[in-house]
Symmetry: C2
Subunit: 242 residues, 2 copies
């Protein structure tokens, strides 16, 4: 870094912010406004001159895509003899909302995210604000430093220290049990209903709709009823961030 | 390219293949085996020493992710004032299976894909083999040349000449009509069924399941019944590659 830039940082009000980011990320951020944007929840959106609101949602869209691509490559190379079904399932285990929320909390994002505490609740263990900010941060790093840099950030600062891929590979989360337990803890009734015609003789596929407290949640379709229930439960867990 | 490499290509049996690829791609491929793999349908899978089968399915997994990431960035930059909902929808319009199939046909993939014509039908206008091979090709280019190269390939050789983003932006495909027409042409009965409880008073969400000839197809859930039907129709169109 040129001396003039170091000097500017030392006299800038951003000095503390840069220091904090450097500790979090392991590198000195270039375009600070991107990182500030990544931690701005929509409840604190800034209104731009043309009237649109600016928060971390657009960066989240970009970061989600970049993260998906980087994880795809990591798994592609880590498992050279596994088929695409295996790779797809393992990737979705890694990037599950609940995992990204946990990761965000581990990284201390709850102290960094700029949100309106009057309207938003971040006290629940699994606030989706954390996972959203994580994806937005990946988007910010990508725009600031490029793809290869982001790939090594994800590999070395996220995957290696925080995610045990081989354990995830063999761990089969029972989403149906998880969801039922959650509903019990919330005193809510849960049912798994087959859809209207799916039980007829002609149907080869089973469709299952989850209802919690009478409210329709996710649905899923599969050739086995058990699998359709499992998939619908998983989608519902994702919707609820549990 | 060093002279020795040019010489090697000229005496190699791959000479014609390289020439063909150079015309298709606009660049000289490096690792030819990747490109050959991208055009190998699973009906012609090669059995590896360890017993696993090798076709373009793994490259398709990787290419799908890289394509999603590149398109995300293109839209992010093209529409600086649009929200993530708009960006997500527009991206899904661009990467719809039917679009990628058309693109594959335009690029002449039907003459390049190595498939078993006894078991696979590529005569239908929208064979999904084409879109699959397109995604696999993106995976091959990424592994051969890196992310930035792949990004400019997608931007300059795919998006600019073949995809009119602004038209897609304003075009609202009526998937329900499209699906109904297709069913009529196939003499198949189609119904849109609300799921078991979704019509109850307590349900805030509507869930719709599509059935074609009594067989359950895709389902979708939304706050409006019309939208749930539209989404379920779109998912079914994607499943059928229409």
């Amino acid at each position: 870094m040129p001396l003039s830039k170091i000097y500017k940082l030392h006299i800038s009000p951003d000095r503390e912010y840069v220091k904090r980011m450097r500790i979090l990320l392991g590198f000195v951020p270039g375009n600070l406004s991107l990182y500030k944007m990544a931690f701005r929840h929509k409840s604190m959106a800034v209104v731009l001159k043309n009237g649109t609101k600016s928060s971390n949602e657009r960066l989240e869209f970009l970061g989600d895509a970049v993260l998906g691509s980087v994880i795809a490559e990591i798994l592609f190379k880590l498992y050279p003899y596994k088929g695409e079904g295996f790779l797809t399932e393992l990737r979705s285990k890694i990037v599950r909302r609940a995992n990204l929320n946990q990761l965000g909390r581990k990284l201390g994002f709850h102290e960094l995210i700029d949100f309106d505490s009057k309207t938003v609740n971040m006290t629940t263990k699994q606030s989706s604000l954390l996972g959203d900010a994580f994806e937005a941060l990946i988007g910010a790093i990508y725009l600031d430093k490029g793809y290869d840099f982001t790939k090594s950030f994800i590999t070395n600062r996220i995957i290696k220290p925080h995610i045990d891929i081989h354990t995830l590979e063999v761990t089969e989360t029972n989403f149906k049990s998880k969801l039922i337990e959650w509903c019990q803890s919330q005193s809510k009734e849960i049912t798994f209903e087959p859809t209207a015609n799916a039980e007829g003789d002609s149907a080869k596929l089973f469709s299952i709709q989850v209802f919690i407290g009478g409210e329709a949640m996710a649905s899923a379709t599969d050739y086995s009823k058990k699998n359709a229930e499992k998939l619908a439960a998983e989608k519902t867990c994702d919707m609820l961030g549990i």
